[in-house]
């Protein structure tokens, strides 16, 4: 079972169903990307998990705690989740440091003392805030071992109790961190330690997004929700920041749910990718799974470039324009009878080039080259007039008009003809 588990979630705006029976399990400490075209319902899914919009039916549990379910709709502020919106959304009237500290509880007695969840500052009655109570109730769930949970393990000894039962208080001065120290810690973590006194309007887009991330991380959420956090940045910055953020989230052992429409972002960052379309999750798996064994041609086309050919199934092989290729059957049912027409799918980088051979007849003519620096997408026209595209590393590029023989280095994928 996952740390976060979403079961049969439905969201409808009137008649229109935006989420249709969505189920998703997120293992603890992993980063899951929900990938889909715009309007597929991925942001709705994120907002439903956050509790920012009501669901029609379904359940959401985080660490064994039911946050959405029949008759249960926990308020967003009691879910213990972090939220990084697309446009950073920093509070313009607060400084960078105050933004980061926004979610840290202020206790009544000592304003700048921040405590680990479950502890109290300076006495029994200090600052039993709503958030603190929520944080404490979180601890009553059984926690799998994780470095992050280690700090709290002693309190979670009383597992399985009702969250209203008082948790034994073990004052431990050494672990009390001041609020200011936590802010400084996070500012350093995102590399903006010297900017804590700035106003948000003085930050660049990338810096603002880092502050937004630090602000969400500060209260140590159980689950981080990231809503296309890099979409508003320019491409160069986007690539740099996203690897940095992924490393940071992993370093904090955070469980994260990232929503994006950028397949490169999803494949490169996530431990698991859920491909979504029209309110449904079509495929859930590791990035390699999704890319190399897509469940249907639409998913294949959405996560990367494809070469599609018509072929005929012949007992583990397909006959197509590239000859007879070893193939895997990707349909739902068992492999079809020999002679059944199928859709053959390849990735452009699975095609290999060889010198023209005299014996083979399946040679091809180079007809177009889309040069991209590190590699190129080369179009070949086969004997029958069929065009296929191959990704060729820059040093091996053929010239226009060259005759070559194409090989395939991986089993082709065969899908039922729609």
């Amino acid at each position: 079972m996952g740390w976060v588990s979403i079961e049969a979630l439905n969201v409808a705006y009137g008649e229109r169903r935006v989420l249709d029976d969505v189920s998703l399990r997120i293992p603890r400490g992993s980063l899951v990307a929900v990938l889909g075209p715009s309007g597929c319902g991925k942001t709705t899914l994120l907002r439903a998990v956050a509790g920012l919009l009501p669901v029609t039916s379904g359940t959401i549990t985080v660490g064994g705690r039911l946050v959405t379910g029949p008759g249960v709709q926990r308020a967003p502020e009691k879910r213990g989740m972090g939220w990084v919106p697309q446009d950073a959304s920093l509070f313009p009237h607060l400084s960078v440091g105050e933004n980061i500290g926004f979610g840290l509880p202020r206790t009544r007695q000592s304003d700048d003392l921040y405590c680990e969840p479950g502890e109290t500052a300076g006495g029994l009655f200090a600052g039993v805030t709503r958030r603190r109570r929520a944080a404490r109730s979180r601890l009553t769930a059984p926690l799998p071992a994780s470095p992050r949970a280690g700090a709290r393990r002693d309190e979670s000894g009383t597992t399985g109790t009702d969250h209203l039962t008082p948790v034994p208080i073990t004052p431990d001065r050494s672990r009390q961190t001041s609020r200011a120290a936590r802010i400084a810690e996070l500012a350093t973590l995102v590399g903006l330690a010297e900017l804590v006194d700035r106003a948000p309007s003085q930050l660049s887009g990338g810096q603002a997004q880092r502050v937004s991330l630090a602000r969400a991380l500060a209260p140590r959420p159980d689950l981080m929700l990231l809503d296309e956090p890099f979409a508003a940045l320019d491409p160069l910055l986007r690539a740099a920041l996203r690897t940095e953020v992924a490393a940071l989230l992993r370093g904090q052992h955070n469980t994260s749910l990232l929503v994006t429409h950028d397949q490169e972002e999803a494949l490169s960052l996530a431990d698991f990718v859920a491909v979504m379309r029209g309110g449904e999750i079509l495929q859930f798996g590791t990035p390699a799974d999704v890319y190399e064994r897509p469940v249907d041609p639409w998913v294949a086309g959405f996560v990367g470039d494809t070469v599609e050919l018509n072929g005929v199934w012949q007992g583990g092989r397909v006959d197509c324009g590239l000859g007879s290729l070893p193939a895997d059957w990707m349909g739902a049912a068992s492999a079809p009878a020999d002679g059944t027409p199928v859709l053959v799918l390849l990735r452009p980088e699975w095609l290999t080039l060889a010198a023209p051979s005299t014996e083979r007849q399946t040679d091809a003519v180079t007809t177009a080259i889309a040069y991209a620096g590190h590699d190129a997408l080369v179009s070949f026209t086969l004997a029958g007039g069929l065009v296929v595209r191959a990704r060729v590393a820059a040093p091996d590029l053929p010239r226009l008009g060259d005759r070559l023989t194409l090989g395939v280095r991986q089993n082709a994928l065969a899908y039922p003809v729609a």
Binding site: Y13, R47, A50, G51, L52, L53, P54, A75, P76, E77, R79, M81, G82, W83, P85, Q86, D87, S89, F91, P92, H93, F102, G103, P105, R130, R131, A134, S201, S212, R215, A216, P219, L225
Partner: protein, 526 residues
Amino acid sequence: MTELLIPPLETDAPPPPRAPGRYRFGAPAWLLVLAALCAATAAIPLVYLVVRTTEAGLTELLDTLVRPRVLQLTVNTVLLAGAVTLSCLVLGTICAWILTRIRLPFQRTLLLVSALPLAVPSYLAAYGWLVWFPQLHGFWASWFVMTMVCAPYVTLPVATALRGASADLESVARTLGRGPLRAFAAATWPQIRPAAIAGALLVCLYSLSDFGLVSMLRFQTLTWGINAAYGASFDRNQAALLALVLVVLALVVVAGERRSRRQVGSVPGRSTMPARPPGRYGAIYMAVLLAAPLAGVVVPVVGLLSRLLEAETLRAIDVPRLIEAIGATLGLALAAAVVAVLVALPIAALAARYRGRLVAVIEAVGFLGHALPGIVVGLSLVFFALAAVPMVYQTSVVLVFAYVVLFMPRAIGSVRSGIAAVPPSLGDVSRMLGLSPFQAWWRVTARLALPGIAIGALLVAISAMKELPATLLLRPTGVSTLATELWSRTALFEFGAAAPYAAALVLVAMVPAVLLSGIRGTAREN
């Protein structure tokens, strides 16, 4: 109606796009109910007026309608409103063009100066002209003074639209062989048309509902007729009927403006037309630009000062009475501002964040006061208070209520844009960081929308201070404001005795105006 010293906030920067500021889900029921209740208060005068008039019976109604007297008043009103609107449209557009396309010295000051007539209530301008020319009266005098007072309603929005209009289209039209005027008509006019028509609507409503100016210049329009019929007190049905005719005229104007407000696709071009040097026509440009401020502000104010500084006037100032009037004016305006903002808040919060037919209806009802002439609201509330709540009749409660109905649109407008400018994602973020909905509202949304809320309150206060017809009808016995004192003295041609009140009114109304420009200044810096 709208006496703003400074062009509204929107004229400085294009309003933030509204679409992302809204949620896709319906509004919470409690907010809908609260907003609907608040909006319903604005509908009381109109609804009660209709009820009251129809009680008299339909045949009698129609009989009264076709009386030559009623027809005469209606024709006068329509003629004046039409003429003033047309002249303001022409003068305002020309002034806006000069302001944006000609490089004149002291450009910013000129813009401020051309907004100045808005700070002068129409009856004060009429008073100022009467000081110089006591024999002024009739249609042309009313038309002239009203045009000078109202022209900025067109000048300011059109200047803003012109500054934002893409010059690329006009350049393209020129390269395709059109002359300067035809290129302007073909390429730029469609871009500024919505602003011009919105300004013309304000002018038209203002001249339809104006009471002080026409009664001082003795031109008999419907507002004058309503006051006369009410004063004659034996025929209050006639007053109600005239009020209904006036309301119908105002609503027709508003509906017409809505129909003509076609969606103009924004033109992607970025470059704006560079201002060019005035050349040899500089003096003419300057004269056109300064005509309205001169006639609408300088002439009345100088007339006022000349009367004020006469030794006889200074000796005759009734200081306790003046102070009493100032106190009443300030107190009423403050109460109106606070109540109006409180009533406007739920409507504005709803309109800024949610959409839907019900929301649109609630907002539109809240804006009713915009189309209701002050004298109509005053009259209807007299009837309403007498019939429904006699114990508050002739108390300031009814008067403050009238101000709230009349000026709530101003509060709704600025509070709404204040709230809409706060991205809803900030609310989401603060919820996710552990704040309850009300904490999030208080610590984030309200905090950031505060300038908008304050501007709304100040706008209401300024308008309430200058309001005349509703105040005349509803003020408690023995209470007079600066506006009513000024009016009653001018009506008796006691220009000297009126001068201290006029001066006090100008000074008192300047306080919120100065505060307003301060708030806008800081809002702009942020």
